[in-house]
């Protein structure tokens, strides 16, 4: 069954068609990768799904319900969580607090309840903190829980962002170039982690430039070029698709 | 007609203040909340000096001194702060404006002063198109027009002006081309202070100068800058004149006390409805052309 179904999605910036009539589906419990050259519209596609950008047309169904044009916080509440290509941590907060913000949709104390510090709120607060600590252990960052998020090295910042996205226990996780800037060792760790998360039952949609990572872990791949989807299928098929090869090796090959 | 004329006169001053905002905003991305104080300083200094020297010399010296103040601000508070947050610069330039104002208060006290009329006096008037107007209005309009023309020439023709435009378009690329971006910031502060001071001098005979007259000018000027699209000088001129006229007309229907409230309501409306301004298109907003 398709968890996410995108149909004829469009978005232009001025005259530039960044995402042009893109359709695809992501099946529950799979890892799907979106690849394509720089500027192909991959991040724009994520922003459209996550609600950070308003689409110009098309439809987006999540669990059979439309999330088209919803504001980001509603998309998050529906069960989609994301990371950013250029890490966006809360630099004014600690690692623990960053991850705890990730629990926002999974907790309910409102402004007034927080202000009065009701017993229910305090209990919930403890649960959130415990959950954050657990996640930090999963990502090997439990030793920096009280450090400022901005003070960490790049690899750990990515880990914090990942943990934060996971804290909401999403049904669908959008990862925008999670391996960018990581060394080989860290990338291998990441691959294992992504697979483990998939095995936990979380569906993953992933943008990545690291081909070996993509080919290793994804169940299916969609290829974007100049805003259009030019190929889709399991890794072995996509790898041998002449159009994909053309896009990656240069425009001229396509004509031959 | 009378409203229109007085509106255009004050409006042209708002336009100059708005251009002053733009000059600094374009090179640094900072909104200098102390912009209005430059006008006050120009007026005050020239008033003090003109008792000991001829008027033109006093004005020239006042402009030079204010430009030096602009230089000092840049030197002391802007140059060495790298990647400041917007909040920090807003708060800091507000602090600077308060300091300048308080220093002015202690140097000149709180009396209202004014320069003598440049030609004739309060009652002299010339007749243009059937309306009798004070020659000072012509001075104001002429000076503002001259400032706009000279600035356009400066940015369009001189090497320094072109370098400044390059800086505002892309600071990084400009420095790679060998332009000293830091110096451009200095120049922009001095330039902005100088034209502010000049505007402060020419309106002084009509609107008078007091230590705290800068704040309201700054707010009006900012409204004009936003209205015209932040960073656009032709937009600033048109918006400035428009605001001047709206204000003049509002006086005829509402009590004088609400004059500022009218302009500010306009500011809020613009900010909320169309923050890119009257002429700035949303997408070209990034492309800052003087």
């Amino acid at each position: 069954m398709a968890l996410l179904e995108v149909n004829n999605l469009c978005r232009s910036f001025g005259g530039l068609r960044a995402v042009n009539n893109v359709s695809f589906r992501v099946n529950t419990g799979t890892i799907k990768a979106v690849i394509g050259p720089n500027g192909a519209g991959k991040t724009t596609l994520f922003n459209l799904i996550a609600g950070a950008l308003k689409p110009d047309g098309g439809s987006i169904l999540f669990n059979g319900r439309s999330i088209y044009g919803l504001p980001p916080f509603r998309v998050a509440a529906a069960g989609i969580s994301r990371t950013f290509q250029n890490i966006k941590l809360f630099g004014n907060m600690t690692v623990a607090e960053n991850i705890m913000v990730g629990r926002h949709t999974r907790s309910g104390s409102g402004f007034a309840a927080s202000m009065l510090s009701l017993p229910r709120t305090r209990r919930e607060e403890r649960e959130i903190a415990e959950r954050a600590a657990e996640l930090a252990r999963l990502f090997g960052i439990e030793d920096v829980l009280d450090a400022g998020a901005a003070s960490l090295d790049f690899g750990r910042q990515r880990a914090v962002e990942f943990a934060r996205a996971l804290a909401s226990e999403p049904q669908l996780l959008l990862l925008d170039e999670p391996a960018a800037g990581l060394n080989i060792y860290e990338t291998n760790e990441l691959a294992k982690r992504i697979v483990r998360i998939r095995d936990m039952g979380i569906t993953i949609l992933l943008i990545e430039h690291d081909m070996s990572l993509v080919m290793d872990i994804s169940d299916e791949i969609a290829v974007l070029s100049y805003g259009e989807k030019i190929a889709e299928g399991p890794p072995c098929n996509v790898r041998n698709n002449p159009q994909v090869i053309a896009v990656y090796l240069g425009g001229d090959v396509a004509q031959d | 007609m009378q409203y229109l004329l007085s509106g255009i006169t004050t409006g042209s001053i708002y336009a100059i203040v708005a251009i002053g905002f733009n000059i600094i905003y374009n090179t640094t991305g900072i909104i200098n909340f102390a912009q209005g104080e430059f006008l006050m300083l120009g007026g005050m200094i020239s008033i003090s000096l003109c008792s000991v020297m001829p008027l033109p010399l006093a004005i020239a010296l006042a402009v030079a001194v204010t430009a030096a103040v602009g230089y000092c601000i840049e030197l002391l508070f802007v140059r060495w702060i790298h990647n400041p947050t917007v909040l920090r610069m807003v708060v800091m330039t507000i602090g600077i404006s308060i300091l300048i104002r308080e220093i002015a208060l202690h140097v000149w006290d709180e009396k209202v002063r004014s320069l003598p009329y440049f030609t004739g006096n309060e009652v002299t008037s010339v007749s243009i198109l059937g309306a009798r107007i004070s020659p000072q209005i012509l001075w104001v309009l002429g000076t503002c027009a001259l400032i706009v023309v000279l600035l356009n020439l400066f940015y369009g023709r001189t090497l320094l002006g072109k370098a400044m435009r390059a800086c505002s378009a892309n600071r990084m690329a400009a420095s790679l081309c060998g332009i000293n971006a830091g110096r451009m910031v200095t120049v922009s502060f001095m330039l902005s202070a100088a034209i502010g001071a000049l505007a402060g001098c020419v309106i002084s005979p009509m609107t008078q100068t007091q230590y705290d007259c800068g704040t309201s000018l700054a707010i009006k000027g900012f409204t004009a800058a936003i209205f015209g699209g932040l960073g656009s000088s032709s937009g600033a001129v048109i918006a400035g004149l428009l605001i001047g006229v709206i204000e003049a007309v509002s006086i005829s229907v509402l009590p004088l006390a609400y004059k500022d409230a009218v302009t500010l309501t306009l500011l809020l409306l613009i900010l909320v409805v169309r923050p890119s301004g009257l002429f700035g298109s949303r997408e070209a907003g990034a492309l800052k052309e003087f």
């Binding site: 998050a76 607090e97 926002h104 409102g110 | 909040l87 807003v90 006390a257 609400y258």
Partner: protein
């Protein structure tokens, strides 16, 4: 736990200052401390808004003045003139208004405090709501200018309207009897109870604010400061949280203005002026932005000194200089954040330390 220790310490300090001044025969100093406490309410709210949620407001004095003018109008003959005799009679009949005379013997009706205080709070909340919805969408310079503009508009309205006494403001505001044995007013005999009442309000505001910042709502607010985009992606309804904290801070300010006006017996338009708003911003900045204790401490200290007239004619200059130098040299404030934060972070941390 340590949060309660800190609150307890503050309460103890309040009592200690009273005893100290009483022993030194300088009880008149309690007057300025009472006023400083009312100003501190504005500072606490602004600290939540600016320090934690990262939204600057250069118009917060307007909310203080709004509370103050509501108190003033509803308890002086401005109200008598505003309503006209027939309407007043009916209101008196329903028990919503008490009749009386002011200090000059003119008829002056007074709305009882159980009604006027909610009205002041509602007025501030309503204005904050109406202004906040559009304005809080703005960022950076635009937000700064918009709040400055809003503050100036209210200032001009207070300054230019007959009902609000124009440049003179409203004086001869009568004390308000809050509870049996507790009257808010400037009478010397009332000095001590007013002092404790004002500080009880500050303590309450501090407890509420500390609760917020160390909970889910507080994290949401700070996440907006850190990255609005990421906060929204984590499910935080950023617009709503910004609005909530804006309204809360407006209400704090209005409550401060309300009681200050009864305490002082009057209010003038200067309370709504830009310089006042800038002063509150300066205090929060010096206090270390996201630092409630720091802002409270600096706020009480600076306002107390200022009210004592220590700065003389350099009053505004001092605040201007503070702004410039703090922002230039120590944008995180002069108090070591880490040190004071330890008090607040404790609750978040203790589950791990088990």
């Amino acid at each position: 736990m340590k949060r309660f220790v800190a609150i307890g310490a503050l309460a103890a300090a309040v009592i200690a200052l009273h005893l100290l001044f009483a022993a030194a025969g300088a009880e008149y100093l309690l007057v300025q401390l009472t006023m400083a406490a009312y100003y501190a309410l504005v500072v606490i709210g602004l600290c939540l808004l600016m320090g934690y949620a990262g939204q600057i407001s250069l118009g917060h004095a307007a909310f203080f003045a709004l509370g103050g003018y509501t108190a003033a109008v509803l308890s002086t003959n401005s109200f008598t003139q505003l309503m006209g005799a027939p309407a007043l009679e009916r209101l008196v009949h329903w028990g919503l208004v008490t009749a009386g005379t002011d200090a000059y013997g003119a008829a002056a009706h007074q709305v009882p405090v159980w009604l006027s205080l909610p009205l002041a709070v509602a007025a501030a909340a309503a204005v904050a709501l109406v202004i906040g919805i559009p304005v809080l969408k703005l960022k950076g310079h635009y937000l700064a200018m918009a709040t400055l503009g809003f503050g100036t508009i209210l200032y001009r309205i207070f300054l230019g309207t007959r009902l609000f006494g124009e440049a003179d403001g409203i004086s001869s505001v009568r004390p308000c009897a809050l509870l049996p044995g507790l009257t808010i007013g400037g009478d010397t005999a009332l000095r001590t109870q007013n002092y404790y009442f004002a500080w009880a309000l500050v303590l309450l505001a501090m407890v509420l604010s500390l609760n917020i910042v160390s909970s889910r709502a507080g994290r949401a607010l700070r996440s907006i400061h850190g990255s609005e985009e990421a906060a929204a992606a984590m499910g935080v309804n950023t617009a709503r949280y910004k609005l909530y904290v804006f309204i809360l801070s407006a209400v704090f300010a209005a409550v401060g203005g309300f009681f200050m006006t009864h305490f002082n017996g009057g209010i003038g338009p200067a309370e709504a002026g830009i310089m006042k708003s800038v002063r509150y911003v300066a205090i929060v900045a010096v206090g270390g932005m996201a630092n409630l204790w720091g802002s409270l401490l600096i706020g009480v200290l600076l306002n107390f000194l200022s009210l004592r007239g220590i700065f003389g004619s350099y009053d505004d200059a001092v605040f201007g200089a503070l702004l410039v130098f703090i922002m230039a040299l120590a944008p995180d404030g002069i108090l070591r954040r880490e040190f004071l934060h330890r008090i607040m972070r404790v609750r978040i941390r203790w589950p791990f330390s088990k």
